[in-house]
């Protein structure tokens, strides 16, 4: 089935925050501009974004991120609202609609939820809406414990049948483009992303959406 090329963006704390642990308006502006621009070029973008706990802790006036799980969950409940509002405020400038999708790991092993999440994400991507995805920290704690959203990124790549994953590097404005099946990884500037993504997808505006996408990482599911 013909569809737009799909990219999953891994947004880490470093992508949004400066070295002092404060949200960087400049970095956030840069990220949302890059995403809105890719959307304009005809590429579908899904964001898997960290940052809820850090934003929540900041909002609550906590100097440090809480160490205990319950404290983190409460900060996440406050911060996820802050995070999604922040994305909306930035994307509004580019007339880009977004959607909030909070997943739990059982999307990988519960067939009904799996199909459901796939359909919802496809529906959003096909309408040119950017899903902003995170783990539902209020009821599930696997990412909080792991402190990284890589498993969730891979799950989303699988759910969306993504053509590539984009990850930021330590150098600002430089990204890693990871092709399906990890067959190729290149480092490039933000400005080069649209051209390279099309090249990665076989030089076409549309992807065939073949079955050999990112593998399902069901072994990470919290049972």
């Amino acid at each position: 089935m013909q569809r737009k090329v799909r990219i999953v963006f891994k947004v880490e704390i470093d992508t949004l925050f400066d070295d002092n642990g404060k949200l960087s308006p400049r970095k956030t502006e840069q990220l949302t501009m890059v995403c809105a621009d890719l959307q304009n070029s005809g590429i579908s973008i899904a964001l898997v974004s960290s940052g809820a706990i850090a934003l929540g802790a900041g909002k609550l006036g906590q100097e440090l991120i809480p160490l205990n799980i319950t404290g983190k969950q409460a900060a996440a409940a406050v911060g996820q609202a802050e995070l999604i509002i922040m994305y909306q405020d930035y994307f509004d400038h580019y007339d880009q609609t977004l959607a909030q999708v909070l997943l739990t790991r059982d999307v990988t092993d519960n067939p009904v939820r799996n199909r459901n999440a796939r359909n919802t994400l496809a529906c959003l991507l096909d309408q040119g809406i950017v899903p902003v995805i995170n783990e539902n920290d209020s009821v599930s704690t696997s990412d909080i414990i792991l402190n990284d959203n890589y498993p969730l990124v891979l799950i989303v790549a699988s759910l969306t049948d993504a053509d590539a994953i984009v990850v930021n590097t330590y150098e600002e404005g430089r990204f890693l483009l990871i092709k399906k099946n990890f067959s190729e990884i290149i480092e490039l500037d933000a400005g080069e992303l649209p051209d390279f993504i099309f090249e990665f997808a076989g030089g076409k505006m549309e992807s065939e959406g073949d079955i050999e996408g990112f593998p399902d990482f069901t072994q990470y599911a919290d049972k």
Partner: protein
């Protein structure tokens, strides 16, 4: 019995789509402002509020400029994902203007079925209440397949009240309470001020007295009452057209139908938890 409500310290307020939006589906900002105002003032008195809010799909449809809701599940869930983001932004805006912090908690029926999810959700809610934050809760429609079609926030709010060990659940919609007969057919139908027992007769009349709003109706409200009674939680059904009615209810003034039950005797630890959240 209404007077007893003046002592409630932890209150779950559920607002339906019909309360939050105009008949055309767009948000009623004036009402949302008054709701935020009322709840923020109550929170200032030291009582704890949890808000269960519907409206995500309606807001999503508004954002995309859709005249009608999509028929397919994926379309509805996509709208819920768009609308929930908008909805929490608007709530945050109105509550922040009143210096009241809010948090977003999206739940599924997992909190009833899975002990680990239940424990996590419970911890999150108690921690938020301890920090004097108003949790704004909705069903996580994006992943809740079986729930979005049959689910309703009346039932969700009852489970939340139980999970949070609340004293009172207030269900606000576009009906004034439980009537003695269908008010559309019987002009002499009166609101029943207090219901102490759920009888077969009452269930029958509730099934007949449905209204056209949201996903719920009187039947789901009676189901919510049933869930709450098991934990000794009182329920009030009232009209949300004027959100100030919440202040009247918790002042113990008759404003709709009160489903009365006495607090469970073995729920002593609940009172201790309430004291704890009050002193922090």
């Amino acid at each position: 019995m209404w007077k007893e409500l003046a002592t409630c310290s932890k209150i779950v307020v559920k607002v339906g789509t019909s309360t939050l939006s105009y008949p055309n589906g767009r948000l009623n900002y004036q009402r949302l402002v008054r709701l935020a105002d009322t709840l923020a003032k109550i929170q200032l008195t030291g009582r704890k509020i949890i808000l269960v809010s519907s409206g995500a799909i309606a807001v999503g449809a508004g954002r995309l400029g859709l005249a009608s809701r999509p028929a397919d599940l994926a379309g509805k869930q996509a709208l819920a994902a768009i609308g929930q983001a908008e909805l929490i932004r608007i709530y945050r805006r109105f509550f922040e203007a009143r210096e009241q912090q809010v948090a977003q908690v999206l739940l599924t029926k997992d909190i009833v079925i899975r002990p680990d999810r239940r424990e996590n959700a419970r911890n999150t809610l108690f921690e938020l209440l301890n920090m004097n934050i108003i949790p704004i809760i909705n069903e996580n429609d994006t992943v809740a397949t079986d729930e979005i079609e049959f689910g309703d926030n009346d039932t969700l709010s009852a489970y939340v009240a139980e999970l949070a060990e609340a004293d009172l659940l207030i269900l606000l919609s576009d009906i004034d309470g439980l009537f003695s007969a269908d008010p559309r057919k019987h002009s002499d139908a009166k609101i029943i001020p207090v219901v102490c027992e759920i009888t077969k007769d009452l269930e029958r009349s509730a099934a007949g007295a449905g209204s056209g709003f949201g996903t719920g109706g009187m039947a789901t409200k009676i189901e919510a009452v049933r869930i709450c009674r098991n934990s000794g939680i009182k329920v009030v059904i009232a009209n949300g057209a004027n959100p100030d009615i919440i202040s009247n209810i918790i002042a113990g003034r008759e404003s709709g139908t009160l489903f009365y039950c006495s607090r469970k005797i073995n729920a002593g630890y609940t009172d201790m938890n309430i004291r704890n959240t009050d002193t922090v």
